[in-house]
């Protein structure tokens, strides 16, 4: 039921009784008017009766006056007669008027007038004249005649009065009837309207109460659904395998799921309402400085911040440390305002160990791949030296020996060069040292000469001048060896690989970012190129295009090392007619070393 429907009901419930009562009032009014009319009629009858009575009295006065005069002969006794007589005409006239439209009454009154006139003319006046003349009026017959006439008059009057009284009685009865009707009608109407109002109101109230009830039902159902949904979400949250912490907009902890509680070492009650920094203490792995929590970052930037670099250590409640990876995101309400922040994190100790193992493994694999080179580049010269020594021992002339010794020296120098390069691959310095990229690349190409020849690949270089950067030499060697190997294998028999290094000055790059001074090493091959759908995967771990022979780790490790050196590695490849691949590695002259790489 909506508001307008409810208002309609209110209106109806208000108006109906009013209307019903008006109807009753109307009926009542009609009845009363009817009764009033009857009362008026009764009053008319009353008026008629009293008038007739008055006339009767006057006639009696007349008669008694006359009789008195008749008896005494004194004219004083005639006074009533005279008074009455003077009034009588008028009063009879009034009586006539009062009779109204009643024809019967009028007839009676006319009769009365006539009779009275007759009495007067025939009896009263003669008597008066006689008495005035001194005559005698005791005559019985005369008086009898007068009496008869008077009887007639009286008879008429009585008639009139009786009829008027009958009328009156009839009218009173009618009035009584009307009143009774009115009362009954009133009763019936009252009852009827009452019931009508009652029923109507009840039905409207039912409608309202039903609507109310159904609203309550809906509310209770919704509440139930809400509860269920909340339960489900809560269960889901509790089941998530990563730690989840939600904070309010101020960064105070509201909720921690079981994994979060376990990882941080704080229980829900202890952590509730505390600032996140107290519960989720993170420090940077290398600097050991406290780090900005994702929640603080989200508050600051007002957007999702992804997993930070993998060098965050969580200090648990008991003080132990754990490698973690974390991310935070704002919780927005319907208006888009930040109503809270949610933080997700997990223990990456195993992940880190695996990664380290993989990288160590790759290092060894790189070395292993150069085994062929070692064998050759050391055995061959040593074999020659051994042969030369044998010759020198077994009858060589001075001149020959001298020549032999020169050759031996030459071969030994080769061995030394290669073995030094080999050792460089393993030994790692604690801090970056200044490295000449030109020299390093030349060494690597020397080491790989055998392999490159075996593959039938032509190598050209463009390294005009020494270029120095600060770096970890062994790691850079690993990178370049990997890249040159990839290039050679791609170029294939008859293919060409070009290695160049060039310095790069400080400046602003194409997108307006400041560039550090450094050097770019470029390794290009004219192999078939890398298809566009493969290119995004190249730097992913375990992705290889070399089937069984590739570990898929070379580029991933290389990128990690380059990133660690604060540099950048980029790959451009074209398939089709102008096919080939170019890998560029930029290294800053004085980089900020990022511990741990990627």
């Amino acid at each position: 039921m909506n508001l307008s429907q409810f208002k309609t009901i209110l209106r109806q419930v208000f108006l109906l009784p009013v209307v019903a009562l008006l109807v009753v009032a109307g009926a009542l009014y009609v009845q009363i008017r009817g009764a009033n009319v009857t009362v008026n009629l009764i009053q008319d009858s009353d008026a008629r009766i009293s008038q007739a009575t008055l006339v009767s009295k006057l006639i009696v006065d007349e008669e008694s006056g006359l009789r008195g005069y008749e008896t005494t002969g004194d004219s004083r006794f005639l006074q009533p007669y005279a008074d009455a007589e003077s009034r009588l005409q008028k009063e009879i006239q009034n009586l006539d008027q009062v009779a109204g439209g009643d024809a019967d009454q009028k007839h009676d009154i006319a009769d009365l007038r006539d009779e009275h006139q007759t009495w007067r003319d025939a009896f009263a006046l003669p008597i008066i004249a006689t008495v005035r003349g001194g005559g005698q009026t005791n005559d019985v017959d005369l008086n009898l005649h007068g009496k008869v006439l008077m009887d007639a008059v009286r008879h008429d009057l009585t008639d009139i009065i009786q009829k008027a009284e009958a009328n009156r009685a009839r009218r009173i009865a009618r009035w009584h009837r009307q009143v009774r009707t009115m009362l009954m009608g009133l009763l019936v109407l009252a009852l009827g309207m009452g019931i009508l109002i009652g029923l109507f109101t009840r039905s409207r109230l039912h409608a309202v109460s039903d609507a109310y009830q159904s609203s309550l039902d809906i509310l209770s159902r919704r509440a139930e659904e809400l509860f269920q949904s909340e339960q489900q979400l809560r269960t889901t949250l509790d089941s998530i395998g990563d730690g989840v912490i939600t904070c309010d907009a101020e960064g105070l902890v509201q909720l921690m799921n079981p994994v979060a509680r376990e990882l941080t070492g704080w229980s829900q009650t202890e952590a509730n309402g505390r600032p996140l920094e107290e519960v989720f203490r993170i420090i940077n792995e290398t600097t050991r400085e406290p780090m900005e929590t994702p929640v603080a970052k989200v508050k600051r930037l007002d957007k999702t911040v992804g997993m930070a670099s993998h060098h965050t250590i969580l200090l648990r409640k008991d003080g132990t440390e754990m490698d973690i990876s974390d991310s935070g995101a704002p919780i927005r309400d319907k208006k888009g305002e930040t109503s809270g922040i949610v933080l997700v994190f997990r223990d990456i100790t195993m992940e880190r160990k695996t990664q380290e193992a993989l990288m160590a493994n790759e290092k060894l694999a790189v070395a292993g791949r150069l085994a062929a080179t070692i064998a050759h580049e050391i055995h061959n010269p040593l074999d020659s030296v051994s042969n030369l020594l044998y010759l020198m021992r077994n009858g060589a002339s001075q001149e020959e020996s001298s020549r032999f010794m020169d050759m031996a020296e030459q071969e030994l120098a080769r061995v030394t060069q290669i073995s030094r390069a080999m050792l460089g691959l393993y030994r790692e310095s604690k801090a970056p040292v200044v490295v000449d990229l030109k020299e390093m690349l030349e060494e690597i190409l020397l080491l790989m000469e055998r392999r490159l020849n075996d593959l039938g690949v032509t190598v050209s270089t463009e390294m005009p001048k020494p270029v120095e950067v600060a770096a970890f030499p062994a790691e850079l060697r690993q990178v370049f060896t990997n890249l040159v190997t990839n290039a050679a294998e791609a170029a294939g028999t008859g293919g060409a690989v070009k290695v160049s290094v060039a310095p790069r000055c400080a400046g602003i790059d194409a997108i307006g970012q400041k560039q550090q001074p450094g050097a770019t090493v470029t390794i290009a091959d004219n192999g078939p190129g890398i298809p566009d759908d493969i290119q995004p995967h190249l730097f992913q771990p375990f992705f290889t295009t070399k089937g069984e022979h590739g570990t898929g780790l070379g580029l991933w490790v290389s990128r990690g090392i380059v990133n660690k050196h604060g540099g950048a590695i980029a790959l451009n490849s074209v398939t089709g007619t102008a096919h080939g691949t170019i890998v560029s590695v930029f290294l800053a002259t004085n980089p900020t070393i990022n511990a741990g790489g990627d």
């Binding site: 062929a372 064998a375 055995h379 044998y390 050759m407």
Partner: protein, 144 residues
């Protein structure tokens, strides 16, 4: 060695004068892509009484092998293009009776390779061993 690798065919005729005197000196073909190693081995063998022909790669070696009355071959395994195993196989097809000694800087060559040749040894074992083994292939009795 920088720059473009150039296939070069080097055919050296032994000309030291010492060995051409010996009537029953054997003609040996040495194949190796290592220039210095090849030269040193040649000198060694000549001083030991052999006549030596050399080649720096498989194809050149095969040419000489078919053209000359080579009595034994000292063959390096790892060479660009055609490696020693392949060369040996072809030599076997051409003149199966000629003994082949395979030299290698590697350890653990596959059985298919070692089965083709008569003898197999690694570089670095030393000159005496090489001479001994070569002698045993050619002539069990004569030891230079």
């Amino acid at each position: 060695m920088k720059g473009t690798f150039v296939y070069s065919r080097v055919i050296l005729r032994s000309d030291t004068g010492q060995n051409s005197m010996k009537p029953n000196s054997h003609l040996v073909l040495v194949v190796d892509d290592e220039q210095i190693g090849l030269e040193v081995r040649k000198i060694l063998l000549e001083r030991s009484g052999y006549r030596v022909l050399t080649a720096s790669d498989g194809p050149a070696g095969l040419e000489i092998f078919s053209a000359e009355p080579v009595e034994a071959v000292v063959l390096d395994y790892s060479m660009p293009g055609m490696h020693g195993g392949e060369v040996a196989a072809r030599m076997r097809q051409a003149k199966p009776q000629v003994p082949i000694l395979l030299l290698s800087a590697y350890i653990g060559l596959s059985a298919e390779v070692t089965s083709v040749v008569d003898l197999y040894m690694t570089k670095g074992e030393g000159a005496p061993v090489l001479l001994e083994k070569l002698g045993s292939l050619l002539d069990p009795i004569s030891i230079p």
